[in-house]
Symmetry: C2
Subunit: 125 residues, 2 copies
């Protein structure tokens, strides 16, 4: 397992030839879905843990679908869950994500400084 499938907490370093930081394919898979993006936005806008039912108001899908998406996000290390009584509370856990995104940005920047300085008009709105 190198680039093929790694997440925030099991991504080995040094297996990629050119990038200091391996590309966390499984993490990006978790982020690469509009429903899950909406769920993350919902959790972010709430600013507090939400029950599954509350998260479900963010998207038109069935609650079972939302539950599955939350499981995927939890396994990717982006949210955490805690059971309280018969409710399950989900909250963002972005510490590892933030660190990883910054490390990856640094890695891309330092691996090809010429390319990133040659053209500077990308990503602008």
């Amino acid at each position: 397992m190198n680039v093929q499938a790694c997440n925030l907490d099991n991504c080995p370093e040094g297996e990629n030839e050119g990038l200091r930081e391996p590309i966390a394919v499984e993490l990006f898979k978790a982020l690469a879905d509009p429903s899950r993006a909406a769920i993350l936005s919902s959790l972010a806008s709430a600013g507090r843990p939400l029950r599954v039912t509350e998260v479900g108001t963010c998207c038109p899908q069935d609650l079972s679908v939302v539950s599955r998406h939350l499981t995927i996000l939890r396994e990717a290390g982006v949210v955490e869950s805690e059971r309280r009584g018969r409710e399950v509370w989900y909250r963002l856990e972005t510490g590892g994500l933030v660190r990883y995104l910054r490390n990856l940005a640094d890695a891309f920047e330092s691996c090809c400084p010429a390319a990133s300085s040659e053209e500077g008009n990308h990503g602008e709105k």
Copy 2:
């Protein structure tokens, strides 16, 4: 089109309720494949533009598959291509990517400061 499908260069801001920076689903889709991750690593380790045939040595797939992956990466704004004679050279274009990753990291960090400081042991190897 808000969170549903956006890339580095067409991702509107302000449509997400809680995150300053929208989640670029299409960009993450492009990064969420092991073959494309290997291609990016290959380009990064080369430190220079590569022809499609050269990129193809990074992965066992057919060259047509590699060509398609490069197209996806180009449409995601991560690489750029230039035709010279009968060869097509691909090179990393990470300026927008680096900016976006840092903006997203900042957005996640500032949207839920309590969550990201509460637990600090994620993402460590």
